[in-house]
Structures are given as structure tokens and as C-alpha cells.
């Protein structure tokens, strides 16, 4: 029984790591690619095809697919109220990636906003009733 619980804890840690890593790297890769593609706002799906063929955007999509599958897998046994706060570190890591690799100017206000959002997500999740109620 204990070894089973340990295995579940290890599995949870592994998938949590995978969710955060794939999310942060995926968003970064998309951002990098969209800088090459240029301004793109359209209601037509065809306009986005040009973007999808950019290698960085394609890599970003692959990583976000990995995010999707690891997130769904994790949610199949872990509560959303656990998954949300631990993966909210992704907001800070994404901002750091923007600061370090895309040379974005992050004002003090923006950092404060990001930290507030992280705290807010943690609070929402801690007090959230089980989402499982919705499914049963």
C-alpha cells in the first residue's frame, strides 16, 4: 500500500514537472515564432496557416499538445485544486523567459501583477470545492 502511494506521489511529481515545463517552453516558442511572423489578427482560420508553418510556432504547438496530454493525465487522478496552484509558477517562469530571452521590459507594476495573479490562483484553488462534484 505504501509503495503504491509512493509510486503515485512520484507519478504526480513527474507529470506536474512535465506540465510546467511543456507549458512554459511551449508559450516561449510560440512567442518567438510570432515575432518572426509579425502582427496577425484575423477571424479567418486561413490567415493563421502562415503562422502554423513557422518552425517555432510548430514547435510551440507540439509542446502545448504535450502540455494538454500531461495536464489531462494529471487531472485523471489529481484534484484541480492541487494542479492549479502548483502549476501557477508557470506565470512567473514565462515572465522570466520573456525578460531573459526576449529582452522584454518588465515594469515593477507588471511583476507585482504577476505575483498577485499567482497568489490569487493559489487562493482560488485552496478554497475551491472539488471539481469532481461536477462530474459525478
Amino acid at each position: 500500500m505504501t509503495s503504491q502511494r509512493q509510486a503515485l506521489a512520484l507519478k504526480t511529481r513527474f507529470f506536474t514537472f512535465l506540465v510546467v515545463l511543456s507549458g512554459v517552453c511551449g508559450n516561449f516558442s510560440l512567442s518567438w515564432g510570432m515575432r518572426q511572423v509579425g502582427r496577425l489578427v484575423s477571424l479567418s482560420p486561413f490567415a493563421y496557416m502562415r503562422a502554423v508553418f513557422n518552425p517555432w510556432v510548430a514547435l510551440g504547438i507540439s509542446l502545448l499538445l504535450l502540455w494538454l496530454f500531461s495536464h489531462m493525465t494529471l487531472l485523471s487522478w489529481a484534484d484541480l485544486s492541487y494542479v492549479l496552484p502548483v502549476t501557477s509558477i508557470g506565470y512567473v517562469l514565462s515572465a522570466l523567459a520573456g525578460r531573459l530571452f526576449l529582452h522584454e521590459e518588465i515594469s515593477r507594476w507588471r511583476w507585482a501583477g504577476i505575483l498577485l495573479i499567482m497568489a490569487g490562483v493559489a487562493l482560488v484553488a485552496r478554497t475551491a470545492p472539488h471539481r469532481s462534484g461536477a462530474a459525478s
Binding site: L30, L40, V41, L75, W77, G120, L123, A125
Partner: protein, 120 residues
């Protein structure tokens, strides 16, 4: 334009999240990671209406997100999408008639203030 895209992303993400969580809870814990079992799982998820609807909402959210990335910073776009927590809380209260605790309102308000700070 930035904020319009943020609104579209928040709405589509909220719909997608709720459907996805409901579908996966109903499915139960995934234990078998052998290729054959994963293939069967994928085929089953592809037939699951909740999963299909969730993926459709996610697609809308995704295209709005890359549009946002084409005109805004990464360090703005990613935290701004957290606006979905505010929307989820409001929807839970008024549409689903769920009891929303004080703590949850406080959390959603913190997220809202955080998103507002991104505008500065």
C-alpha cells in the same frame, strides 16, 4: 485590441477547462501507460463529446492567444490569460448557482487586480 483578445481567450479557456476536468474525472485515473492502452485511450477520448467540445474551445483560445502574442509581450500575454479565473468564479456563482466561498472571491479578486496591474 489586446484586451479584446484577452477576453476571447479567457472565455474560451474557461469553457475548455470545465469540460476537460469533467471528462477526465468521469474517466478516472489513468494507470496503464503501455502503447496499446494509450492508443485505446486516445480513441476513446476522441469519441468523448465533452473532450471534443473542450478541444474545440481550446482551438479558439489558441488562435486568439497566438494573435495576442503577435502584438504583445510574452510577459503580458501569459499572465493576462489568468483572467479566466475571474470569469470562472462569476460563472460558477450566477450560472451554475454554486456556492462561492469568501476565500474564492478573494482569490478571484487578487487575480483581477493582478491583471489590472498588467495594464500599467
Amino acid at each position: 485590441m489586446k484586451w479584446l483578445l484577452v477576453a476571447v481567450i479567457a472565455a474560451a479557456t474557461t469553457i475548455s477547462d470545465v469540460l476537460q476536468a469533467a471528462a477526465m474525472k468521469r474517466h478516472g485515473e489513468i494507470r496503464d501507460f503501455r502503447p496499446g492502452a494509450l492508443r485505446r485511450l486516445l480513441a476513446m477520448l476522441a469519441r468523448n463529446k465533452l473532450v471534443v467540445a473542450s478541444v474545440a474551445a481550446m482551438t479558439v483560445s489558441f488562435f486568439a492567444f497566438i494573435a495576442l502574442l503577435s502584438l504583445a509581450d510574452l510577459s503580458f500575454a501569459v499572465p493576462a490569460t489568468a483572467a479566466s479565473y475571474v470569469l470562472e468564479t462569476v460563472l460558477a456563482k450566477y450560472l451554475l448557482k454554486e456556492p462561492v466561498t469568501l476565500g474564492r472571491w478573494a482569490g478571484a479578486s487578487l487575480v483581477a487586480c493582478g491583471v489590472a496591474l498588467l495594464a500599467l
